[in-house]
Symmetry: C2
Subunit: 367 residues, 2 copies
Amino acid sequence: VPTGRAPTRHRQSDIALAAGVSQATVSMVLNGRTGKGATISADTRDRVLRAAADLGYVANPAARSLAGGRNNLLGVFTFESVFPAESADFYHPFLVGVEREAEAQGYDLVLFTSSAGTDGRRRIYRDNANRLRMSDGCVLLGYEEDRAELDRLAAEDFPFVFIGRREVPGQEITYVAADYAGATCEAVSGLAELGHRRVAYLGRGHPDHEPTVDREAGFERARVRHGLDPDPRLRVAMPSGELPAAALEELLASGVTAFATEDDAILRGLLDFAVATGRQPPDDFSVVALVDPTPQPLPVLRQQGSGQLEVSGLRVPRLEMGAAAVRLLDELLRGPVDAPARQVVLSCRVVAGTTTGPVPQPSKGHS
Amino acid sequence: VPTGRAPTRHRQSDIALAAGVSQATVSMVLNGRTGKGATISADTRDRVLRAAADLGYVANPAARSLAGGRNNLLGVFTFESVFPAESADFYHPFLVGVEREAEAQGYDLVLFTSSAGTDGRRRIYRDNANRLRMSDGCVLLGYEEDRAELDRLAAEDFPFVFIGRREVPGQEITYVAADYAGATCEAVSGLAELGHRRVAYLGRGHPDHEPTVDREAGFERARVRHGLDPDPRLRVAMPSGELPAAALEELLASGVTAFATEDDAILRGLLDFAVATGRQPPDDFSVVALVDPTPQPLPVLRQQGSGQLEVSGLRVPRLEMGAAAVRLLDELLRGPVDAPARQVVLSCRVVAGTTTGPVPQPSKGHS
DNA sequence: CTGAAAGCGCTTACAG
DNA sequence: CTGAAAGCGCTTACAG
């Protein structure tokens, strides 16, 4: 006998009593059930409805979902150690997209905030249990995902959608990704069309990370297509996100006229370098960013001409990706259990901003 | 017989089978039950725990809460029509506070995104059900709350905490509020100490809204304390948030030297008026804002001296309020069912910014 | 057209 | 120390 706090609430059996029908009939009326050879006389209907109104009846959602099997709850899980509820966070727009589409589809959202591990990283599996199962299905995101956890999750039959391309060995998983390869190719092609021939790729050099692989592939595609300099020294791996000024000077001295930056930290490092050395894109070199600059103020450049600094490069459709993830998850939940995994790839906008321009006049001879 | 995809999910009876015990024992072990004359042998405990881990067991939250147990799920509900996941939203910092404290306390969060009504307003009661009951308890927020719904919720015995002071007739509810009265008094007293005697209160004029009542009470306290002009025309009610320039001109002509603005729209309207008429706080009049200006750029004033424009006035401790709400809710959930409602009031910081200064020299005689 | 019954997955007295 | 049983409030075949 539970000690619950519920005694004040009425249940279907109370209505049934008041209306002089069975509890099952109350359920049917309240849910507007019709087909299945079940019809309710108008009279009964009215009595039930009136009794329900009189008693201020409210269905117990827990009981409802227990009986019906579904929660109407979509999970949101991120591997990032800080839940991206901060504004100006890179992940925030994904969440906004998820939330809007969840609203449109009539789902509530569970934010798995409880699962921070001792190291500050979030974990799916805690005490050897998968808390995501609290929800009907889950949207996952985060750059630094834990592959072991992801592999284990993929091995279960729990429905989930990753935001971002991720490959799990031996499994097909459902994801919604940005077309980093295509957009990078487009952005770098833009540089080539401006005349740039020695373009440096400044990246983290994570060879196992799909988003990096995609950008590098797009870069290579543009390089081949436009006959850009294949010099391997132009592929700069900077795992910490920092590159010494000396190395940048060396690249410039070697004839590099444009940079593609893989992430925000690298972009900012490059702009800081420009400020520190009195340089100015696009006069001294061009820059394309391979991901949106975050809204934090950018380093102020020497003189920004008439208008604002607008970084050239990709714009990841984060809102749309979040919304698409929810739609995919919804399809997963509605479809048959054995439906195949699906992959959706959304195009990025490529912006011609104020950080790209023609090849600067070489100070030293360079054809 | 439900058609769901649930059969893959393990339940306590599966563990019981695997561990060779009864389902009830599994429940006890999993819930760490001890007292009540119920003890479990270490051996049984281990077997159950191991089986649960092997099967990746996770409790069904609906079943748990139906049976009177707990979910570890805290709800977040806002009456605002757009869920405040947008950055730069007034409500966003509340949510960040809620989320951080939820993480600290080990709760997951349910965002009730599904409950948008046809009019775009969110509703607690939909399809005759209180969906909040999906969670163990709920944090509510939103300026334009629906009193009928709030009253109905208060009449139930569902645990919730409102962020903001709200009074429900005949009920004590638990809330965490900002001390608008005290902070408004402090801010207006600051004006008085600068010599202002005719201070206008620009508000929405919602006499039933507690935050408005509190600010007006604080204003009145300061007025009496400092012998400010009691002229009732200085209490300006502008329900739409807009006041015609002519009315502002009239106030200034009548000798008003300072304004207290109740919300962000009114503040911006006043600053726009200043820009449009070539005026400049604090040279031509002083302004204190009775709520934080949102991060959107403010109207650019004629000349902002050496530094930035910083609006004088209150700073609502929104993060702290969100966190406090979760702590209150946690106490409600841990405490006895009949524990009394609690009210927590947090102080606001009062900032002396760049929009307040000494009384301008009167253009027309005015003592 | 409506009722009796089973069952969703749990928690909690209550017997052993 | 552990099991059998009741019950939380619903939905849904299945009989009438």
